[in-house]
């Protein structure tokens, strides 16, 4: 199977492209995929329905990973002072070891276990006779060696199958130590249909075991939590720089460069700002129900989106001095951004992009491409749900299938002593009347142009076809997709781990991204695909040497 990108065709018909994507599939696969490929006709909240968060068909080369990857890799991986111990054979811990480019700064002598990889390295005898004893011993050894304030245990596939009771083991060890919080995540890889199930499991356990553990007052006037920001390539550092400049106190980031104490103190914030809706909205909801902290959707990807999100935070607190300060910061930061934008636009204007990544990123990064004058002609999520495409208003109608049903939904109630609505009903109403939206997310589809293709759980075959048919100037996905796309002569940008770049969040990040995309789409290398003798294979002359 060989594919080449041939001459650029400017026009394509989305129905034709969709038909081409489905043509080769056995009919059963084609029927299923057809519902996950949507020709966008979004009009406000009237978007057509897409099928999402359903099983990938076996044998189809998917971009997706597993539940463990979502729980340990994504959510808990970036925490720096928790010993993240993986209970299972060695592979799962090995592959999640430093590969996601989460940056951390623990200072000169702060606790930092991010560079370590911990595993119980289960052997066949553990599979046969059970691994609980080994797990308890490993927890003990980790405690004796490091005396961390917390040890988190992650289940891999065989753990659930052989019935190791990791929750009882961790509970016992926690009681034994007294000064170390130990808890476990039942995030076996086979649960759910993608990483997304792992996010939910991580959210639940963090909320159950850590949030609210530290009631000490936290200083700061405008206290927020930043949810769903993983400090890949230093994104979180840039956002924190801006927060600091504005006078915003970030109590806890879930979970880039985070610490145990940040999670434990999260209930001390007065607002939850949600970045990655897919991976963390559960915690936002639970913090609201239990402690009375409202949440809003923000996006710090894109300079304009950053400014908008800062204004949204300022408007929530409603303090004129704060609102003015935020405007000052925006005014200070934007000239540099605009200068960079004006410069790159001369080279990026009108170019096209495709994005198949994450459960929010394919939406967030559209902001940056817009700012560069580039069009996103096709996009989709690897592990999104319908609400990430169509908006949260579809949540009540979501069908709960067998794969979602086995993920625990925590029953959360208002905390008897600590529930404290940060805004009164009247205040909320006043804000809403002024157009302010709480717990609101419109999803990707309304932001995509009509006639673009929105594709859920894109696979390798479709990716190749799309590039062949629609010839984007840049394609964005993850490491597994990178080189097959680039072999076609089309630059590919990783939007999970950013290749070697970043930060791309905030104002500085926007400039970095403009320059990175400019570099990629205008690199000379794409003109070297053919050697001179391949471009002109017919010999038309010889040297007159004889």
């Amino acid at each position: 199977m060989a594919t080449t990108t041939k001459k650029k065709i400017v026009q394509w018909d989305p129905a034709h492209v969709k038909a081409e994507l489905l043509a080769k599939y056995p009919s059963k696969v084609a029927r299923k995929r057809s519902k996950q490929i949507m020709i966008n006709e979004a009009q406000g909240n009237e978007t057509p329905e897409i099928t999402a968060n359903v099983r990938t068909t076996p044998g189809i080369i998917t971009m997706r990973g597993c539940t463990y990857a979502g729980c340990k890799g994504v959510i808990m991986g970036p925490t720096r002072d928790i010993v993240n111990l993986v209970h299972g054979p060695i592979g799962c811990s090995f592959y999640a070891w430093l590969t996601r480019r989460n940056q951390t700064d623990a200072g000169l002598d702060g606790e930092n276990y991010m560079n370590y990889c911990f595993s119980t390295d289960m052997q066949d005898s553990d599979i046969i006779f059970g691994g609980e004893k080994k797990l308890a011993a490993a927890i003990q050894e980790a405690y004796d060696l490091f005396h961390p304030r917390s040890i988190a245990v992650f289940a891999t596939c065989p753990v659930g199958l052989i019935g190791d009771d990791i929750h009882t083991v961790t509970k016992r060890m926690k009681e034994k130590f007294g000064d170390c919080n130990v808890y476990a995540f039942s995030c076996e890889g086979y649960k759910g249909v993608s990483q997304s199930a792992g996010h939910h499991i991580a959210n639940n356990q963090v909320f159950k075991h850590i949030v609210g553990e530290n009631d000490a007052e936290k200083p700061g006037k405008y206290k927020i939590n930043l949810l769903g920001e993983y400090n890949i390539g230093g994104d979180g550092f840039e956002i924190d720089r801006i927060f600091k400049k504005c006078g915003i106190t970030n109590i806890a980031t879930f979970s880039g460069n985070s610490t145990y104490d940040q999670f434990a103190s999260a209930h001390k914030a007065d607002l939850n700002a949600v970045m990655c809706h897919r991976s963390i909205n559960y915690v936002a909801d639970m913090l609201e129900t239990k402690f009375g902290i409202p949440w809003i959707k923000v996006n710090f990807i894109g300079a304009d989106a950053t400014a908008k999100s800062l204004r949204k935070i300022a408007q929530y607190f409603g303090d004129q001095e704060f609102i003015d300060r935020v405007e000052e910061v925006i005014a200070e930061e934007m000239p540099k951004v605009l200068a960079a934008r004006t410069d790159v636009r001369t080279r990026t204007e009108g170019k096209t992009a495709m994005m198949f990544v994450g459960g929010s990123r394919a939406h967030h990064y559209k902001e940056l491409f817009n700012e560069m004058g580039m069009r996103v002609i096709s996009a989709g999520y690897e592990f999104g749900h319908r609400d990430d495409y169509e908006g949260r208003q579809v949540i009540p109608d979501l069908k709960v299938d067998a794969d979602s049903r086995n993920i625990e939904e925590l029953e959360v109630e208002a905390d008897a002593n600590r529930f404290n609505p940060r805004k009164s009903a009247e205040e909320i109403k006043a804000l809403e009347d002024a157009g302010y939206k709480f717990k609101h997310y419109d999803g990707l589809a309304p932001d995509m142009e009509n006639g673009t293709l929105i594709i859920d759980d894109l696979n390798q075959y479709e990716a190749e076809k799309l590039v062949e048919l629609m010839k984007p100037d840049i394609f964005c996905a993850g490491i597994k997709e990178k080189y097959s796309i680039q072999k076609l002569g089309v630059p590919m940008k990783q939007l999970h781990s950013y290749d070697s770049g970043g930060p791309y969040a905030g104002f500085e990040g926007a400039i970095n991204f403009y320059q990175e995309i400019d570099r990629l789409v205008n690199s000379k290398v794409w003109s070297y695909m053919k050697a001179p003798w391949q471009d002109n294979p017919q010999l038309s002359a010889t040297y007159g040497w004889e």
Partner: protein
């Protein structure tokens, strides 16, 4: 400090592995399978296994790595993965049309007892494997052995395709073990020079070091063909390089197809390459061409020219058994002193071989099979070294302890060259030497006081 919580004092651990020097079986099976032409590796387990292996191999090679998965859900984990696997076989041949599927199990499918051989039979009965297409399988439970075991098991499954027609093909099977595509290319160059006709499997050259030409081939031009694998049963003999990686397949050909075999060390360094070339000469019954003797002479020349920078320098090593055995022998042969040696792969025989090779060294040697890099780091803290040789994860130790590092092994995630420049053979040993001298002399240039700084080294 990056590894700031690693104490100098060593305490024995019975249950906790920290900073492993191995990974799990399936990735080895996947890497091996990529060395068959037209092969789609298939991971019979959760999606994450396949995603992790593809990601790691892609980061190491900066090349596309295609592989499919059975995409287990909770239901398949309870009721068995046969339905998923059968569906996968059908879809793979319909959509990707490989010549062969090389499927391996995972800890998940092993724990629930899925039997790929039986599923393959069912697929054949149900007509799911088209005429002229193949499927092989390997049982690779992650809770046994290491990535090396998985590699070895998949290579053994390849040998399972070999058939005996009774008519010898005049070729020698070469089983190169887990080496880089560049190394496989170099082994082919050497056998060609000597004039031995070979069937080498697996062969990832031309698969994982491909060109950028504007064309994407899901199944690149390289790799051992199925026809060659079938013909391996008619070969006159087998040279297996590396006990851990290659012996199982060689023994399979011996018992099943009556193809006699010789197991050698991997040809890294002077002496192991000498033995490899000598074995090829004996098999082919030819004189070793002068070009090869010249390459050997150039290596010996460089060793003698630069001996003062190598003599009694202490080295810490981490990697896989076959590679480390050959590397330890090479270092000892140039009067360097490998004093801390760790592999994550189990095997007491490894420790015995290392102690044998280093027995005349003037220092005590720490060696551990089934060890980890946390222990290696602690050994280094107690007895510092002048050089570390190992995979990219070593850079955290190298930076903390300020020790020069040569990247060699798997995975290498932060430097290039392993895809293209071999370290096997005499030319490869020259390259290893160049790299070792490069970091040692760079360190000297960095650390010498100005009064001692020298132009000529």
């Amino acid at each position: 400090m990056l590894l700031r919580h690693t104490p100098k004092e060593i305490t024995e651990r019975s249950a906790l592995m920290i900073n492993p020097a191995k990974t799990c079986q399936p990735i080895g099976a996947m890497y091996a399978a990529l060395g068959i032409h037209g092969c789609l590796p298939h991971s019979h387990g959760s999606q994450g296994c396949c995603a992790y292996h593809r990601s790691t191999l892609t980061r190491h090679y900066k090349e596309p790595v295609s592989a499919a998965t059975s995409s287990f859900t909770e239901g398949s984990s309870v009721f068995g993965g046969q339905a998923n696997m059968l569906q996968a076989i059908e879809n793979i041949f319909a959509v990707y049309n490989p010549v062969i599927i090389a499927a391996h199990t995972t800890c998940l499918s092993e724990t629930i007892g899925d039997d790929l051989k039986q599923i393959r039979k069912k697929a054949i009965t149900e007509g799911k494997i088209p005429e002229g297409k193949y499927m092989i399988s390997a049982s690779t439970p992650s809770y046994v052995g290491s990535h090396v075991t998985g590699f070895s098991t998949m290579v053994k499954s390849m040998a399972g395709l070999a058939e005996t027609t009774g008519k010898k093909n005049g070729k020698v099977n070469i089983i190169p073990g887990w080496v880089e595509p560049s190394d496989m290319e170099e082994i082919k160059r050497l056998t060609n020079m000597i004039g031995v006709k070979t069937i080498m499997f697996p062969d990832t050259s031309g698969v994982l070091n491909g060109p950028l030409s504007g064309e994407y081939k899901m199944f690149p031009d390289g790799g051992t063909t199925v026809a060659e694998l079938i013909s391996a049963g008619d070969s006159i003999g087998t040279l297996a390089l590396g006990e851990w990686c290659s012996a199982a397949a060689a023994h399979e050909l011996d018992t099943k197809n009556k193809v006699p075999c010789q197991v050698l060390d991997m040809p890294f360094g002077l002496k192991a390459t000498d033995r490899f070339i000598d074995a090829l000469r004996i098999i082919a019954g030819v004189t070793v061409p002068d070009e090869i003797s010249l390459e050997r002479g150039q290596l010996v020349d460089m060793i003698s020219d630069m001996h003062q920078y190598l003599y009694h320098k202490k080295v810490a090593l981490v990697g896989d058994p076959d590679q480390l055995i050959a590397m330890t022998e090479f270092l000892v042969s140039i009067d360097m002193c490998p004093i801390h040696i760790v592999t994550g792969t189990p095997g007491k025989e490894f420790e015995r071989r290392i102690l044998e090779i280093t027995k005349d060294m003037p220092f005590t040697v720490n060696v551990r099979a089934k060890g980890d890099m946390f222990l290696l780091h602690q050994w280094i803290k107690n007895e510092p070294v002048d050089l570390i040789i190992g995979n990219t994860y070593c850079k955290y130790i190298a930076r903390d302890e300020d020790i020069p590092l040569v990247r060699w092994g798997f995975p290498i995630l932060d430097r290039q060259g392993h895809q293209y420049f071999p370290t096997v053979g005499y030319k490869g040993a020259l390259r290893l030497l160049e790299k070792i001298l490069g970091v040692i002399q760079d360190r000297k240039d960095r650390d010498d006081p100005e009064s001692k700084f020298e132009l000529v080294l």
